[in-house]
């Protein structure tokens, strides 16, 4: 039965709520007075505190879980995602502080979005997921609008989000019709529920950038400045996966065909992302497509639909978030110096060795260099799909990894060839800190993945006994 996470379980949950309220209310006040520095300090302290709280609950709680009022659930899975979201938003805040003109507004919107993300992570009902997703996506639209130049991207995101919302509500209605409940529990029978599963895939696929529902996303990612892209691709996309995993694994595990469809879509997603990324000469756009292809790898783990697969996907989500935010921090720095194209970064290594090395390392990790998280994540994903008999899926995934080396290596080769006369372009301390954090995490959990594998394993296991018990 449901054990308590820690003696202070309820109190801790309340603490997170309280901490977040401080972030929002104080943030609004600070925004009014336009104090950038104070807002950054507030955000960093609040997010770091709540990240530590979550980490404590995760480590102390083990595999225990606890429900709050029947519509929210605290278990290793939700804690894992809320930790990722918190740390991600924290890092994004630091990048945005360095390069955003409207940092106050950005930070406030980010705190709104984080609340939505928490709702998705902790949700035990379809309605909570719906509200959480709305709360997570809408601030992003306004964030893009903050930069004023990228109206088109905001419009596209808004169109996609509203389409997704419409389909999501339709899916929830069908689920209610078929099962008589909006609670997230294992559904079975009723053909109409199968159709609902498809609608969930489509609508949540927008968020998670699954092909073919992602055709708008590259523009959305590449339009706004890099710090907003790091938020969209690094954190917001993960909300889509959190929701997708919960709905499909908890609710529709009985509909095996839906998972076959996910497998097929993952193949399309990988190929689409990788092939188009090959042709990009804008580095941010290349990263947008690359993150689409990474979404394809993550989907392989979902398609496997067992604890090993989900655990591998969670590992890859963790890995990708840090790598993506690290790369986007470097891109934000490049954009700050007017460099947008891959050709512009020729000879970067003579200008800044640390960032060049970090860029090379993070990209190689995306391509799957051993002793980085990118390798371990992909390895686990392919292994899980081979172990569950989907060798073809692993094979196509490996082919895609090989294709992807081509465009990552192109960037790295550009960075390390040619020389610039100017030496030592200054790096903002915040950016350096973000990049360093991402590089360290990528290396540490690449060399010593066991602790993280333990955490993701717990998180994944939390999805399955729940599905079995319901």
């Amino acid at each position: 039965m449901m054990g308590y996470i820690a003696p202070l379980g309820d109190a801790f949950v309340l603490l997170i709520g309280a901490v977040m309220s401080i972030a929002v209310i104080a943030g609004a006040a600070i925004t009014f007075y336009r104090r950038k520095r104070a807002h950054l300090a507030l955000s960093v302290i609040v997010y770091a505190a709540s990240a530590l709280l979550i980490l404590y609950m995760m480590l102390a709680g083990g595999t225990a879980q606890m429900s709050i009022g029947g519509f929210m659930l605290i278990n290793p899975f939700s804690l894992f995602f809320s930790l990722i979201f918190t740390v991600g938003i924290l890092l994004v805040n630091i990048i945005a502080y360095a390069y955003s003109k409207d940092y106050n507004e950005f930070a406030l919107l980010a705190s709104f979005a984080l609340i939505g993300m928490y709702m998705v992570a902790f949700s035990l009902s379809l309605v909570t997921i719906f509200i959480g997703l709305e709360l997570a996506v809408l601030p992003a639209v306004f964030m893009i609008l903050l930069s004023r130049k990228s109206l088109e991207a905001a419009a596209k995101l808004f169109v996609a989000a509203s389409l997704s919302t419409a389909l999501l509500s339709f899916a929830i209605v069908l689920t209610y019709g078929g099962s008589g409940t909006v609670a997230l529990e294992q559904y079975s029978g009723a053909e109409i529920l199968g159709f609902a599963a498809l609608l969930f895939i489509v609508s949540l696929g927008f968020e998670a950038s699954i092909f073919p529902f992602n055709v708008l996303l590259p523009d959305v990612y590449s339009g706004p400045p890099a710090h907003i892209t790091s938020m969209l691709g690094g954190v917001n996309k993960k909300v889509g996966f959190a929701a997708l995993m919960q709905v499909l694994i908890l609710g529709f595990i009985a509909y095996r065909q839906a998972f076959i469809l996910i497998a097929v879509l993952s193949v399309f997603t990988m190929f689409y992302g990788n092939l188009v990324a090959l042709m990009q000469d804008n580095i941010k756009r290349m990263m947008a497509y690359s993150s689409i292809s990474q979404a394809g790898y993550i989907m392989i783990g979902i398609a496997v639909a067992n604890a090993a697969g989900i655990s591998a996907s969670l590992f890859q989500i963790f890995a990708h978030m840090f790598i993506f935010i690290g790369v986007l921090a470097i891109i934000a720095w490049l954009e700050g110096h007017g460099k947008h194209k891959i050709n512009d970064i020729e000879g970067l290594h003579s200008e800044n060795r640390f960032l060049s090395f970090s860029l090379a390392l993070l990209l190689l990790s995306l391509a799957g260099l051993p002793f980085t998280t990118g390798f371990v994540g992909k390895f686990l994903i392919f292994l899980s799909s081979i172990n569950s008999g989907m060798v073809w899926l692993a094979f196509l995934g490996i082919i895609n990894s090989i294709i992807s080396i081509y465009y990552y290596a192109r960037v790295i080769a550009k960075v390390y060839t040619g020389r610039r006369v100017s030496r030592g372009i200054k790096v903002d301390r915040g950016i350096a800190a973000v990049v360093l954090t991402c590089v360290i995490i990528t290396l540490v959990f690449g060399i010593w993945p066991l602790p993280l594998m333990h955490i993701t394993g717990n998180a994944a296991a939390a999805l399955f006994p729940a599905a079995g018990a319901a």
Binding site: K156, V159, A197, I201, Y272, A277, L278, L380
Partner: protein
């Protein structure tokens, strides 16, 4: 402690890269790192370990480590030579830029070599093997602005790649046959699988050994690899990396004995040795002569291993390192002092006494004079071959010719030059280059004496996994050579040296004579030419293959790019078009998915 052994060079490499703008600092840090890791060696514990990385279910990924006397031997050689090589580089690399890269790559190579030396499973071996190829590639092409260096690096990498792939295939076969990849487990229960299953594995492993150790028919890359800096040749391409193949042959010996494939090693080793000796006699490039000599020695080691004289092979394995490194030091010094790569244009070494004396010591060792290393090897090996006349006469011929070509090399570079500037060049060589050579000369003498402590260095238990096969290998290989043997060897070596002296010091146009003998079809058997051209074809074929493979991947990339371009066209447009595309996609997905779920498809 084992991890520390690998970690110290790694930290030194990082420090060398990161610290300081002072050009001299990088090298010194590297030398200190190499010395510290040498000091760690006595504390390394023996045994068979498995360092786990991570495991999923019953599937465990780990690094197998085996530290046995044989491994200690290679570890010791690598660790002992590394500080000298790096110290030599302090002088040699001084005027050239990119010190950081050089020392980082050298230390990376050292780490790879140490990992190789203590690998206890095929997975570790393969990882180390690949890193060896990679660092060899990087270091051969170190002067990347030279077209020849780039080509040589690519050639070496491509040829060795054949071996890598063979190794991988062999590993797959062995995994199927034994269900484990640990050396100790496989080699001690070698009889658990039928020989017929293992033939392909043994042959593939032999291919891997031949490519790594530059043996016929893959020997072509090693002379070309001399485009790299001299310390690289001294470290990688004579003393450590190329010996990885021979070392593997020793490790896998039970497999070769079980499948009765040792004779392949024997024959190919002998063929390589003969070919290399002949090449060395007509070569004029200072370093390439020594490179051919290295191929010859590796061939002799394979001959010894193939005929079961494992102690003779191990002895040669030890001593060859030191005088070979020393010869490369001298060759590098000669090239540095004279600015020429041609043996005929670099005279004057005699003006630098320390360099001259240490070089002479190395030359004598190689030529096989008593009481130096070459002599002991010859006598130890001869004990095995006195029954096999073909091998015996080939070895005798080789020892005369070895003495001939190495004295030719030595006499030509120590001749009194007509141009006095050359002498100045030799005298003003950096101290670090000369004195690391002197230090290496001391090691050469000391290592010669290891002949008497072989039983201690390689006790019976070293070959524990050989089981009862080991008995076969331990027959009188360390018996002291008799007087008649010593006299014979000395006469042979002296004959070669004298021939060389008459030919090159007395001013006979022997260069013409030699090249006539070895190049014209009338005077020399066409077998040699046929074999040489065949070997060239194989090696060149590998390079050609690389071009095809490149073309394949290139076209693959082009195809991907082309399809990417088509996709990108679709991805640029206004919201209306997107909305239409998306609507169509969603409808198609829903229709297809629904039909699929309802079982209609």
């Amino acid at each position: 402690m084992i991890a520390l052994l690998l970690l110290v060079p790694l930290l030194a490499a990082l420090a060398a890269v990161l610290l300081g703008r002072n050009e001299r600092l990088h090298g010194r840090i590297a030398v200190i790192g190499a010395i510290i890791s040498l000091l760690l060696l006595p504390f390394v514990s023996r045994g068979n370990f498995n360092i786990g990385w991570f495991s999923i279910g019953n599937y465990a990924l780990g690094i197998g480590i085996l530290v046995m006397p044989l491994n200690m031997l290679l570890l010791g050689i690598t660790l002992l030579i590394a500080p000298f090589i790096l110290a030599y580089s302090l002088g040699f690399m001084d005027i050239r830029s990119e010190q950081r890269r050089f020392y980082a790559e050298m230390l990376m190579f050292e780490i790879a070599m140490l990992l190789f030396a203590m690998s206890g499973s095929f997975i570790t071996l393969l990882i180390a093997w690949e890193f060896l190829s990679l660092s060899s590639y990087l270091l051969i092409g170190f002067w990347h602005w030279k077209e020849k260096a780039r080509k040589a690096a690519r050639k070496a990498f491509t040829v060795v790649l054949i071996g890598d792939l063979s190794m991988l295939a062999a590993i797959a076969i062995l995994w199927n046959a034994y269900g484990t990849l640990s050396f100790a487990a496989i080699m001690s229960s070698i009889g658990a699988a039928a020989p017929i299953l293992l033939y392909p594995a043994a042959l593939l492993l032999i291919v891997a050994i031949l490519t790594k150790s530059a043996q016929f028919p893959f020997q072509n890359w090693l002379p070309d690899a001399m485009e790299g800096p001299a310390p690289v040749s001294a470290f990688l391409h004579s003393t450590t990396m190329v010996k990885a193949g021979v070392f593997s042959a020793m490790i896998f010996l039970p497999l070769f004995l079980y499948t009765k494939t040792t004779s392949i090693l024997l024959v190919l080793g002998a063929v390589s040795a003969v070919l290399a000796t002949m090449n060395a006699m007509k070569e004029t490039h200072i370093k390439k002569i020594i490179a051919h000599s290295t191929i010859q020695e590796l061939g002799l080691m394979l001959v010894a291993i193939g005929s079961g004289a494992i102690l003779a092979a191990a002895y040669f394995f030890i001593v060859q390192s030191f005088y070979k490194a020393l010869l490369f030091f001298s060759a590098g010094s000669a090239m540095d002092a004279s600015g020429s790569e041609d043996i005929r244009h670099a005279p004057g070494m005699r003006s630098n006494t320390a360099l001259y004396a240490s070089t002479l010591l190395a030359v004598i060792s190689l030529a096989g004079f008593i009481p130096f290393s070459g002599f002991f090897f010859n006598s130890a090996a001869d004990a095995y071959f006195s029954s096999n006349m073909i091998i015996y006469s080939a070895l005798t011929l080789i020892s005369v010719m070895t003495s001939f070509y190495i004295f030719r090399w030595f006499l030509l570079i120590s001749k009194r030059p007509e141009d006095k500037r050359l002498e100045v060049g030799y005298v003003s060589l950096p101290k670090s280059m000369v004195y690391s050579g002197v230090g290496m000369a001391v090691l050469t003498v000391a290592s010669s004496l290891s002949f008497f402590s072989l039983r201690w260095l390689l006790p019976q238990s070293a070959l524990y996994y050989l089981g009862n096969l080991g008995m076969l290998l331990h027959q009188g290989s360390t018996a002291l050579p008799g007087i008649s043997k010593a006299v014979l060897e000395t006469i042979l070596a002296t004959a070669g040296a004298l021939a060389s002296y008459t030919a090159y010091r007395k001013g006979i146009r022997a260069g013409h004579l030699v090249s006539k003998v070895f190049n014209s079809e009338e005077t020399f058997s066409s077998i040699y030419l046929g074999m040489a051209s065949m070997a060239c074809t194989v090696s060149e074929g590998a390079v050609l293959l690389e071009i095809y493979i490149n073309a394949f991947f290139d076209s693959f990339g082009r195809f991907a790019m082309a399809s990417g371009a088509q996709l990108r066209k679709a991805a640029v447009g206004s919201i209306n078009i997107y909305a239409v595309i998306m609507a169509v996609c969603i409808l198609a997905f829903l229709a297809f998915g629904y039909a699929y779920m309802a079982g209609l498809i």
